[in-house]
């Protein structure tokens, strides 16, 4: 558990797949832009079940594993302390993992390319709760009058299965459009994102005690779905029961949601094209197996005031401590609620502009409009990516170079600037070995020789079978 926590806190993940976006040899690129170009000679594809796409992306915008666990003469506690103070409350840790269970697509006689599939997704983000980390690490002694912000607690996570079906069509010589409908089947969700209030220790004014410990305007809540029943020992008595519950929810037995993706590609001229997509415009409606917690209120603690009541022999004094607990519970009640809630999926936007040129190695000059010929030999372009997150959208900009190296092998190199780093180089390779399609993409290659020094890592890997005309 600890190492999971270490792993989780040392890498942050986003969902940017800059190496796959726009690479039409990879069928999964349609998941990033349902309106992306599909090779005209591609008739049918299906992914190798469970192996058609594994995506892992993890990142930390403020600290690396090496910063904490690197071999050093400096004590690890000193390094952790330094990191706590270096990081901001807008730094974040994210984890995204996707495992495609099924992916398929086919072209019909009217030149629509339909796609469908199922994938499982884990998406978690935790902003660094700087004030709470300082309070836990240092205590309050050296922070009199400092208002620890409870709003620093900001985290959310989703484990779900996505069922999708979409269509793509080149509607004119220049324009390709696509859309995809999604059904979300939530397995587990939690979020604690709208917290506010503060905790401060001040010197007292002399009328009561030495300090005043003040909880002011506290409003802290956690919403969960899929959690309460796991604590029910009548229903769950072991890991097999948990797995059984998860599988049931994964296949439309849990809380449901709806969403859609849309995208387009526009050929500006024979060399230039532009594309854009909006993904996961939708929400999950959590109505079952809900358990929410909320604490609100104000309270000032001065310690315990003794009043020395006159007592007869054997008579008990006031239950000061119980009264104190009751008073806190009354003024800052912690409620357990069971009301439904809706979670919007993290909306993602991709956009790109591409300049195609060049020729195949040993081949002819590219005829970029003729995608059945010596096409797409090289391209250069810019991509933009954003994802809506609880505190603010996150952005990434990518400069890429794509090259069709041989008739069966293509590669894409990216340079990405995002919240994690300014020097993220990535490489994606896709090969078509007969009908067998394989792709592998990884970024942060400059940190590849030692991933511990990377602020983020991303890996995508998959195998497909493609049939051409």
């Amino acid at each position: 558990m600890f190492y999971f926590a270490v792993f989780y806190t040392c890498f942050a993940f986003s969902q940017n797949k800059q190496l796959i976006y726009g690479v039409e040899e990879i069928p999964q690129s349609l998941l990033l832009n349902p309106g992306g170009n599909v090779p005209l000679d591609q008739k049918f594809h299906f992914g190798i079940p469970l192996f058609s796409q594994l995506h892992i992306n993890a990142g930390s915008s403020g600290v690396t594993a090496f910063d904490i666990f690197g071999e050093s003469d400096i004590n690890i506690n000193a390094r952790i302390r330094a990191s706590i103070f270096e990081m901001k409350n807008t730094d974040f840790f994210t984890v995204t993992q996707q495992l495609e269970l099924i992916n398929f697509g086919w072209r019909n006689t009217k030149d629509y390319y339909f796609t469908g599939g199922i994938y499982q997704e884990l998406d978690m983000i935790t902003y660094f709760p700087r004030d709470l980390a300082i309070l836990a690490w240092e205590g309050n002694r050296d922070y009199l009058n400092y208002e620890f912000d409870l709003g620093d607690l900001n985290t959310s996570g989703d484990l779900l299965t996505v069922f999708h079906f979409g269509a793509n069509r080149q509607v004119s010589d220049r324009l390709t459009l696509g859309a995809r409908a999604k059904i979300y089947s939530s397995i587990f969700n939690y979020q604690s994102t709208n917290n506010s209030g503060s905790f401060v220790t001040r010197l007292g004014d002399g009328t009561s005690n030495i300090y005043e410990h003040i909880l002011q305007d506290a409003d802290v809540s956690v919403q969960t779905s899929g959690y309460a029943s796991l604590r029910n020992s009548d229903e769950v008595s072991g890991s097999s029961d948990v797995l059984g519950k998860f599988l049931g929810r994964a296949f439309l037995g849990g809380n449901m949601g709806l969403g859609m993706d849309v995208g387009a590609t526009y050929e500006i001229n024979s060399n230039w094209s532009a594309s854009a997509s909006i993904l996961d415009f939708g929400a999950i409606f959590h109505t079952k197996d809900i358990e929410n917690y909320r604490a609100t209120g104000n309270y000032t603690l001065n310690g315990i005031e003794l009043i020395f009541p006159p007592l007869s022999e054997g008579e008990a004094t006031f239950p000061y401590y119980t009264n104190l607990e009751d008073e806190i519970s009354e003024q800052v009640p912690l409620d357990t609620l069971y009301n439904s809630y809706t979670v919007w999926r993290p909306l993602k936007m991709n956009a790109g502009i591409t300049y195609r040129f060049g020729k195949l190695l040993g081949g002819n000059e590219c005829d970029c409009r003729n995608r059945g010929g010596d096409s797409d030999s090289q391209s250069l372009g810019l991509q933009f990516y954003s994802i809506f997150r609880p505190k603010a959208p996150q952005y990434a900009a990518t400069l890429f170079y794509y090259r069709r190296v041989t008739d069966f092998l293509s590669a894409k190199v990216t340079y990405t600037v995002d919240a994690f780093s300014m020097d993220n180089l990535g490489l994606g390779i896709v090969g078509d070995f007969g009908k067998f399609n394989v792709y592998l993409a990884a970024d942060n290659l400059l940190r590849y020789e030692n991933l511990a020094k990377a602020n983020s890592i991303s890996l995508q890997l998959g195998f497909n079978i493609k049939f051409e005309n």
């Binding site: 594993a65 690197g70 506690n77 002694r141 009561s208 310690g303 003794l306 020395f308 394989v438």
Partner: protein, 178 residues
């Protein structure tokens, strides 16, 4: 053959990365050492609060008890390294006052005691007494067996019309490590 060599190259790409120059065993050395300041007891007494102590002629005492339940909690027992009690008392009684804090277990066994003398003052010029009791790592196990404190203040006088006010404020500094 050329194609499959490339395929092998592509696949091996994914398994050749590594994490090095790191020592995750250092996780065992991670220690949080917060120092927490927390108000303790406070009260104000005048002569009406005191009662003649029939057991000890010539003394007036006042006694009260409160639970401090977290003291013998498992978290405290496992993680409290040491503690420091700080008392600030202003006294306008013209006599010294004996302050006694007796920490008891659930079964009312005394396990730790703080005792100090409060300086005498006057109504016009109350005396201020500050007292710090440090509970070292060697003593802390005694404190964390307790969950209540009996507070006893004693005036040595025969004058039941004695005039004065005694105000006590206090805090505890908890040195934690976990």
């Amino acid at each position: 053959m050329y194609k499959y060599a490339l395929l092998f190259l592509v696949l091996s790409f994914g398994i050749t990365s590594c994490i090095k120059d790191t020592d995750f065993d250092q996780a065992d050395e991670i220690e949080l050492s917060p120092v927490v300041e927390l108000d303790f007891l406070f009260f104000t007494l005048d002569i009406d609060n005191f009662q003649e102590n029939t057991g000890f002629e010539g003394t007036f005492t006042v006694v009260d008890t409160t639970e401090i339940r977290f003291l013998d909690g498992s978290f405290t027992q496992e993680n409290l390294l040491s503690a420091e009690y700080f008392f600030r008392v202003t006294n306008s009684f013209p006599l010294g006052v004996d302050a006694n804090f007796n920490f008891l277990t659930e079964e009312n066994e005394p396990f730790y005691e703080i005792d100090f003398l409060i300086l005498p003052g006057t109504n016009n010029n109350p005396a201020s007494t500050e007292f710090i009791q440090t509970i070292t790592a060697e003593e802390i196990e005694q404190l964390t067996q307790t969950n209540k404190v009996v507070v006893t203040f004693t005036l040595e006088t025969l004058d039941e019309n004695l005039s004065g006010v005694l105000n006590l404020q206090s805090k505890t500094t908890y040195f934690l490590k976990f």
